[in-house]
C-alpha cells in the first residue's frame, strides 16, 4: 500500500467556509480525495453536505478557502477555465434534476449532444444501451421524467452522470427514498462505474449499508466541521460519540441532544 503522501490528490478542499444570510453553514471544511478513490460524506440533515458538493462544482462560491482539482485552484477561476473543468465531472443531484421538458434519451445524452455533433440516431442508441445496463427497459428512453417512478428517475440521473465517461463522479444521496433492493443495485452501479471508468467518486449518503458497500474512505460533517475522516473499516471504532451515534443510528445521543437544545433555544 502506498502512503497517502505519494499518491496525488485528485480533489483537495482546504478550509472552506460558507454562510447564507449571515448564517454559517460550512465553517472549516478540509477534505483530500485521492485519484481513483471512492469517498463518502455523511452527516445529519442540513449540515451542509449538498452545499459542499456545489462548492466543488463552482455552483456556490465559498466565502473563503481553496479547492484544488488536479492541483489547480478552482475558486475564483475564469468562466472558460471553469467550463473546461466541469467537463470531467459527472453529477447526480439530490432530487434528480432531470430536465422535465426533454425525453429520457435527450436527458442522458445532453452533454454529449452539446459538446459533440453526435447524430440523433446514435445518441438514442447510446441512451438505450445505458438504460438497459442500469436495469431499465429500452423503451423508457422515449418517456419523460415525470412519467417515471422515483427509483427509475434516480437511475436515469445516474445514466446522465456517467454517459460521457467523466473522471470525477459526484453523487448526492443516490439511494435515498429507494427500496433496499433498488438501492443495492444503484450501489453496485456506482462501484462498477468507478471501477470501469477509473473515476474518483464523492458520494453523499445517509444510508450506512450503502456507505459500507461503496466507500473507501468516509468523512462526517457536523456543525460546519469535518469531525472525523478515515477508512470505512474504522468507522465503527472512532471513539467520537457523534460519529458513533450516526453510524449506528441510535435514537439517543449527542446529536439528538443538540437538536433538542437547538429547537428549544432557536439557535
Amino acid at each position: 500500500m502506498t502512503s497517502t503522501l505519494t499518491k496525488s490528490a485528485k480533489i483537495e478542499i482546504s478550509h472552506i467556509a460558507k454562510s447564507f444570510d449571515g448564517k454559517p453553514v460550512l465553517k472549516d471544511i478540509s477534505l483530500k480525495i485521492e485519484d481513483g478513490q471512492s469517498y463518502c460524506i455523511i452527516g445529519t440533515s442540513g449540515c451542509g453536505k449538498s452545499v459542499t458538493l456545489k462548492c466543488l462544482l463552482g455552483l456556490i462560491t465559498p466565502d473563503s478557502g481553496s479547492i484544488l482539482i488536479d492541483g489547480v485552484e478552482t475558486v475564483g477561476q475564469s468562466r472558460t477555465a471553469r467550463e473546461n473543468m466541469l467537463r470531467q465531472f459527472g453529477m447526480t443531484f439530490q432530487f434528480g434534476a432531470l430536465f422535465d421538458s426533454l425525453p429520457i434519451w435527450e436527458n442522458i445524452t445532453f452533454r454529449l449532444r452539446q459538446t459533440t455533433a453526435m447524430p440523433r440516431a446514435q445518441a438514442r442508441e447510446l441512451a438505450a444501451d445505458i438504460v438497459v445496463q442500469l436495469g431499465l427497459e429500452a423503451r423508457v428512453i422515449d418517456q419523460y421524467p415525470a412519467e417515471l417512478s422515483g427509483g427509475m428517475q434516480k437511475r436515469v440521473a445516474l445514466a446522465r452522470a456517467i454517459a460521457d465517461k467523466p473522471n470525477i463522479l459526484l453523487f448526492d444521496e443516490p439511494t435515498s427514498g429507494l427500496d433496499p433492493i433498488t438501492g443495492g443495485v444503484i450501489d453496485s452501479l456506482i462501484v462498477a462505474s468507478v471501477r470501469n471508468l477509473g473515476a474518483t467518486a464523492l458520494t453523499i449518503s445517509h444510508d450506512m449499508a450503502s456507505v459500507r458497500r461503496i466507500a473507501d474512505k468516509v468523512a462526517m460533517l457536523h456543525k460546519g466541521h469535518v469531525i472525523w475522516q478515515g477508512p470505512v473499516g474504522d468507522m465503527d471504532n472512532t471513539g467520537i460519540p457523534e460519529v458513533h451515534q450516526f453510524v449506528h443510528g441510535h435514537a439517543t445521543g449527542p446529536l439528538t441532544d443538540e437538536a433538542v437544545h437547538a429547537a428549544r433555544t432557536g439557535v
Binding site: K54, L57, L59, E83, L86, R87, F89, M91, F93, Q94, F95, G96, A97, L98, F99, D100, F110, R111, Q114, T115, R160
Partner: protein, 258 residues
C-alpha cells in the same frame, strides 16, 4: 425617531438601486449570450410557437371587443357635437397606436410572463439550472436568450393581427349596430391612417415583448426556494412586466412625438 425613518428610507433606496443593478447585469449578460453562438434553434422555435401562436386567441378576443366598445363609445360621445363620422378614424388610430400594443402586451404579460417565471423558477428550485450548468450549457444562453428573442419578435406579429381584428370589431359595430355605410367607413378608416401609426405600435410591441420575457426570465432565474419561491417569482414577473409596459408605453410615445 427621525434618524430611524431616514435610515429606513436610505435602506429602501439602497435596495432599489441594488435591484436595478442586478436587473441591468442580467439584461446585458442575456443580450450578450443571445448574440453569441451556439444558437438553440429548437428552443427558439418552441418559444415562438408558445408566444406567437398560442397567444393569438387571447389577443384576438381582447382587441376584438376593445375595437367594438371603442366604436360604441366614440359614437355616443361624438354624436353630442355631430362628429359621428370621425368614429372610423378614432377607432383605427386608437387601436393601432395604443390599445393594440398595450392590451396585447398586458394580456401576454399575464400569460407568458407567468409561465416563463414558473417554468424557469421550477428549474431553479429543482436544481435543473445547476444541472444545465454542469452539463456544459450556459443557462442564460439555453433558457433566457431564446425567450428574449421570441418575445421581441413575436409581439409585433401578434399586435399586427390584433390591430386588424380590433379595427374589424369597430367596423362590425359601426355597420351592423350604428348603421354606417360600409364603403364610407372603410374609406374613413384609411384616410388618416399613416404608416408611422402602425410602426409606432409595432415598435412598442417589440419593446413590450422584450420586457415581458426579461421579467419572466429574471424572476424565474432568481426564484426563492421551494414552491413558495416559484409562486412569488410568478407574481413578481407579471406585476413588474405590466408596470414596465405602461412606463415604456409612455416613454416610447414621448420619444416618437418628442
Amino acid at each position: 425617531m427621525i434618524i430611524a425613518l431616514l435610515q429606513n428610507i436610505g435602506h429602501a433606496a439602497f435596495r432599489f438601486l441594488a435591484v436595478i443593478g442586478k436587473v441591468s447585469l442580467f439584461t446585458f449578460a442575456s443580450i450578450r449570450w443571445t448574440i453569441m453562438p451556439p444558437y438553440y434553434m429548437r428552443q427558439l422555435g418552441r418559444q415562438m410557437l408558445d408566444i406567437g401562436y398560442y397567444s393569438l386567441p387571447v389577443v384576438g378576443l381582447t382587441t376584438l371587443f376593445s375595437g367594438m366598445v371603442l366604436a360604441l363609445q366614440s359614437y355616443t360621445g361624438f354624436a353630442r357635437f355631430s362628429a359621428e363620422d370621425t368614429v372610423a378614424t378614432v377607432v383605427v388610430l386608437s387601436v393601432t397606436r395604443e390599445l393594440g400594443p398595450v392590451l396585447a402586451g398586458l394580456m401576454v404579460a399575464g400569460r407568458i410572463g407567468a409561465s416563463m417565471a414558473a417554468e424557469i423558477g421550477t428549474m431553479r428550485v429543482t436544481d435543473q439550472i445547476d444541472a444545465l450548468d454542469t452539463l456544459s450549457t450556459r443557462p442564460l444562453q439555453y433558457l433566457v436568450a431564446p425567450r428574449l428573442l421570441a418575445g421581441t419578435l413575436c409581439l409585433p406579429f401578434l399586435v399586427l393581427i390584433g390591430d386588424v381584428i380590433g379595427v374589424f370589431g369597430g367596423y362590425l359595430v359601426s355597420i351592423y349596430r350604428l348603421g354606417f355605410n360600409k364603403g364610407l367607413y372603410i374609406a374613413k378608416t384609411l384616410e388618416f391612417l399613416q404608416a408611422s401609426d402602425v410602426v409606432l405600435g409595432l415598435v412598442k410591441a417589440a419593446v413590450f415583448g422584450f420586457l415581458i420575457a426579461l421579467m419572466g426570465c429574471y424572476h424565474g432565474y432568481h426564484s426563492g426556494r421551494g414552491a413558495e419561491g416559484v409562486g412569488r417569482a410568478t407574481t413578481n414577473a407579471v406585476v413588474s412586466a405590466s408596470i414596465l409596459i405602461l412606463i415604456a408605453n409612455y416613454l416610447v410615445t414621448a420619444l416618437f412625438f418628442g
